[in-house]
Symmetry: C2
Subunit: 302 residues, 2 copies
């Protein structure tokens, strides 16, 4: 439930999410060596190192950061062992009380989106019983296929008490090639905003926000401001702060007057803080998470 995320944000006074996109390149050398010594230079060895890294980050952040966002690609590239590590990471972060948003950007024709929704937001039937394949609290969804492709996720959210964030205006440089095209006097991302509102209209929770959120990049503050006005009941997942160039005052445009409405992601700047600022992985990540929280809260309150 989006309410669950909002309550953690309020409790911690921190509207941010730590991205867990742990390429092997980001890890300290001794952490990699330790795992490769145990399991060889294998996917198993890599996955062991990735989990150690994630665990250190989660242990250092869980009492001050409300949520984590593992990016599925960085686990899939390590094969079955990588995906096992993703599943363990999701479960571990939840056990520490964090809200877990799986960044997987799935989306397909209706029947297939239903299968994805079962995989990540629901359960799968296994003869006389059913079980969750993966169990994050939320996931990201790609809307290229329209209502058929998104509704199964939105419906599953209501059944399971989970949430989704649908791509509207992404943070990357070329996002405008499709998303900024003007149709009938308004850009595609505004057309998508109307659809996202519609998909979420029946699942507005007690804080006034829907289970169907939107991804809105920090790197396009003007578009974010327009979208904020168009979608008052939609929570925004905001990537692009920090390493990608988004600043606190840019990010602030994605918030509502209630001080809510957005959760801002940073990945590299937190994961790799130890490289820039020294100290251990966890210690440096925590200091950077505090800095980021204060930077954003200051801009939001202005």
């Amino acid at each position: 439930m989006i309410d669950k995320l909002i309550e953690k944000i309020i409790e911690k006074g921190n509207p941010t999410v730590a991205g867990l996109d742990p390429k092997l390149d980001y890890l300290p050398e001794d952490m990699i060596k330790n795992s490769f010594d145990k399991y060889g230079e294998t996917f198993e060895g890599a996955a062991d190192a990735l989990f150690s890294f994630n665990k250190e980050l989660i242990d250092a952040l869980y009492d001050i950061v409300p949520a984590v966002k593992p990016q599925s690609a960085y686990y899939e590239m390590y094969g079955i062992e990588g995906i096992k590590c993703l599943s363990k990471t999701i479960d571990y972060a939840k056990s520490k009380g964090m809200y877990v948003i799986l960044d997987a950007k799935r989306g397909d024709i209706g029947a297939t989106s239903e299968a994805y929704a079962k995989a990540y937001l629901g359960t799968t039937e296994l003869g006389g019983r059913s079980e969750a394949a993966f169990d994050p609290d939320s996931m990201t969804v790609n809307p290229y296929l329209g209502t058929d492709g998104v509704k199964p996720f939105a419906d599953q959210c209501v059944l399971s008490g989970k949430s989704i964030f649908v791509l509207v205006k992404t943070s990357n440089k070329s996002s405008g090639e499709l998303q900024d095209l003007i149709c009938g006097g308004k850009p595609i991302y505004e057309h998508m905003a109307s659809l996202v509102k519609q998909w979420g209209i029946d699942s507005i929770g007690s804080h006034g926000y829907s289970e169907v959120g939107a991804v809105v990049g920090a790197t396009y503050p003007e578009q974010a401001a327009a979208l904020r006005a168009l979608m008052p009941h939609t929570y925004f997942l905001v990537p692009g702060y920090g390493a990608q160039g988004g600043k606190a005052e840019d990010v602030a445009k994605s918030f509502n007057g209630d001080g809510l409405g957005a959760v801002v992601n940073a990945s590299r700047s937190i994961m790799c803080a130890y490289r820039k600022n020294g100290g251990g992985v966890g210690e440096a990540a925590r200091a950077e998470a505090v800095r980021m929280r204060d930077d954003i809260m200051f801009a939001v309150k202005k």
Copy 2:
């Protein structure tokens, strides 16, 4: 390489691909029972049954059908064990000489698309060595994020001798909500077609087709005809024949004058042919695959 697919299509005189989207519901009861007896009503049991089903289909089809298209969602919903089954299915189909198109519709910001491209089209570095996480010949890609999100896949195709199919006009009912919007006098799917052409321009193979193909649904024959004219060097992956309502004469619009240019997918009608026509899973699938081949070849040659 798209050439590899084209050569298999020519050799077998069959421009079709069998979708492997094996929900447990589609399997014969005794096949499910057999696996659940061995492993219990678990993901392991389900995955064992799914692989038996896939193996029977591949064994019955490999000498007459050039390619298979496993849909990732139907494996992800069975968790780690399901994804192991996907990996085994990819490897088994390749060992029988089939071209494997993984239908995963990935797509993200540049750095993340690079990770996905490594996961499915390239290899992952593991200390001093590297290894393929998953090894299909081709995959589907979602272009909502524009060039940043697709180029890493296109570049990896050139490095690894693989191919991709980028969503342009999908087969589902609501595909028009975004894809048919008119911008600057032409629909979004034509804008995407221009981008797909551009992404593939440097990788045209010896049969005149690029490593960057397009997904164009059989359910929209007029749009397919327009796209065929716009993209002469782009191979089309055509879903929507059979169960979704596309007919052979609709599908024929996606072919070029050379009798090439498209590979037509059917999933349920082949996988579940045994339910409609009786006989074993493999036997019925083979008969349906022959019927489909003849139906489409007749329409293409007209």
